[in-house]
């Protein structure tokens, strides 16, 4: 029983990271139909920049904030330099551009930060909290809380603010969005900034537990992508649930089968979703009549 609880704790912790990555996917997908495979690199940068800034003497909170801001700025730059100039190209081309950006960011990170594995102290110490025979790290609570807070903030943004609806409108019908006076380029810029910032936050929160290195991005991207697919691409609620589900599946696979298979779990989920439920758990029902 306590063993199961232990696996669940670790599943929820990584699941929260995947949920944040999946939310990042969701935002850019909603604004542009593009699946941004550089999303995992934002996670890596969040951890890496925090590490570097902290090592350079900045207090941890300040280092974390600067990592989020810098990564968001990089997301904006990526949109301006790589995505916006290719507007009008088929979505597949744009997705390939994001893969290119991902490889580029990874290469640059390797040069700037080196090949070593990095980390920094947990925010609230390393003393595990005991719960019913199992333990959870305080940093896990930070990660889980971060995912839930980001989800609530996004939900409010999309359902309660005019700007949030403008983002949804832009994804639904770009032409009509322009015709009602929405600056669709700004919406794209905003989406990349938000998405990159959220990815960086995931890295900032997770690194004390997962550690970081220049090449951790791909795994985050694939698992976050699996979560987003499972939940239904484009649906924030789906991203949250899907991300947690992937984390749990992974932890239970590692716990009860073998940790050799844990990475395969995400791929099995992607394939199963593609085969049996292409819309995902919360996929949009198509109500378009025309």
């Amino acid at each position: 029983m306590s063993e199961l609880l232990q696996f669940l704790f670790s599943g929820v912790t990584v699941g929260a990271v995947y949920a944040l990555v999946a939310l990042g996917f969701t935002i850019i997908y909603n604004a542009s139909d593009v699946v941004n495979f550089a999303q995992g690199e934002f996670v890596m940068l969040g951890g890496m920049i925090t590490f570097a800034a902290h090592a350079a003497g900045l207090p941890l909170p300040l280092a974390a904030i600067s990592a989020i801001v810098l990564t968001a700025a990089l997301g904006v730059g990526m949109n301006k330099l790589a995505i916006e100039p290719a507007r009008g190209a088929p979505v597949v081309s744009l997705i390939i551009i994001t893969i290119g950006a991902s490889i580029f960011i990874q290469g640059a990170a390797q040069i700037i930060f080196g090949k070593q594995i990095h980390s920094y102290p947990a925010f609230s110490g390393d003393t595990p909290i005991g719960v019913a025979g199992a333990t959870i790290l305080p940093q896990s609570l930070w990660v889980i809380g971060g995912a839930v807070a980001v989800f609530i903030a996004l939900w409010l943004f999309f359902t309660r603010t005019l700007l949030g609806r403008a983002v949804l409108a832009t994804s639904n019908n770009r032409l009509a969005a322009q015709l009602v006076g929405i600056n669709t380029n700004f919406v794209m810029t905003l989406s990349f900034a938000l998405s990159a910032g959220i990815g960086a936050l995931a890295g900032v929160l997770a690194t004390p537990i997962t550690l970081t290195a220049y090449n951790v991005g791909i795994a985050f991207a694939l698992k976050g992508f699996a979560g987003a697919m499972l939940g239904g691409m484009g649906n924030p609620k789906g991203a949250l649930v899907g991300g947690f589900a992937i984390g749990l599946i992974e932890a239970l696979t590692a716990g009860y089968l073998s940790s050799t298979y844990k990475d395969a779990a995400a791929f099995v989920v992607i394939l199963a979703v593609l085969f049996f439920m292409p819309q995902g758990l919360f996929g949009r029902k198509s109500t378009d009549r025309v």
């Binding site: 403008a166 019908n173 009602v180």
Partner: protein
């Protein structure tokens, strides 16, 4: 109000507007009629700034807006109800209307929405439903109402009658006619030349990217060439 001079536009290397001259005066309903593929939609896309202009100028209320970004035009008083309605299908009817007034955040937004519901009562009934589930006629009403939410001094209307049952078409044309009394200037593009000319003050006839005729609506309706080519009489 709106002056178009020598307007040219192209898709890739193929020019489809070969120098359009057109004038819309304040308070008028002006219609551009023409067959399938004449370039009417392209003209309106240029006026709204969502289609590049390769020559000529567009002047609106005294300002040159030829290259003004599309998203800045509604705030100048120029909005469009586009061909094919282009409503936001996954948002509710009310959200569609609210986005029509995207540039505004004052009390008038609520009053305008009330007016829109008065004009199209069916939209009030369906206000919380997804716009994608509306019938074709209802979607057309929503597209027009959304464009009116932007407080246009000049409304561009692209084929509001397309694909609708005759009874709905006449209802839509009546509504357009009524806009005149509300002080909205209208540029109406139609394949349904007869219906459009009946409610318009003046008309232009467009053929393969050129204006080939212009005049008072009643003159055009009475013209034998027009009657034969466009009115099927």
């Amino acid at each position: 109000m709106l002056t178009v001079e020598g307007l040219r536009s192209r898709y890739g290397r193929i020019e489809v507007l070969h120098g359009i001259d057109l004038q819309v005066n304040s308070g008028e309903i002006v219609t551009v009629v023409g067959a399938n593929g004449a370039g009417k939609t392209t003209l309106l896309r240029c006026l709204s700034g969502v289609q590049p202009v390769s020559g000529g100028t567009v002047t609106f209320r005294g300002d040159q807006i030829t290259t003004l970004a599309a998203w800045r035009r509604p705030a100048r008083g120029l909005t469009q109800s586009p061909e094919g309605r282009q409503i936001f299908t996954n948002l509710s009817v009310e959200e569609n209307l609210r986005l029509g007034a995207y540039g505004f955040a004052d009390d008038r937004v609520d009053r305008d929405m009330e007016d829109a519901f008065q004009m199209f009562p069916i939209l009030r009934e369906k206000r919380n439903l997804s716009a994608g589930g509306l019938s074709g006629g209802q979607q057309q009403m929503l597209a027009m109402a959304r464009a009116l939410m932007g407080r246009p001094s000049c409304l561009l209307l692209d084929e509001p009658s397309m694909g609708l049952a005759p009874i709905i078409v006449s209802q839509i044309f009546d509504t357009v006619r009524g806009l005149k009394d509300l002080g909205v200037t209208v540029l109406l593009v139609e394949q349904n030349a007869f219906g459009a000319l009946k409610i318009a003050d003046r008309g232009y006839v467009m053929e393969t990217g050129r204006i080939i005729m212009e005049g008072a609506a009643e003159t055009l309706i009475a013209d034998p060439r027009i009657r034969e080519a466009y009115l099927g009489i």
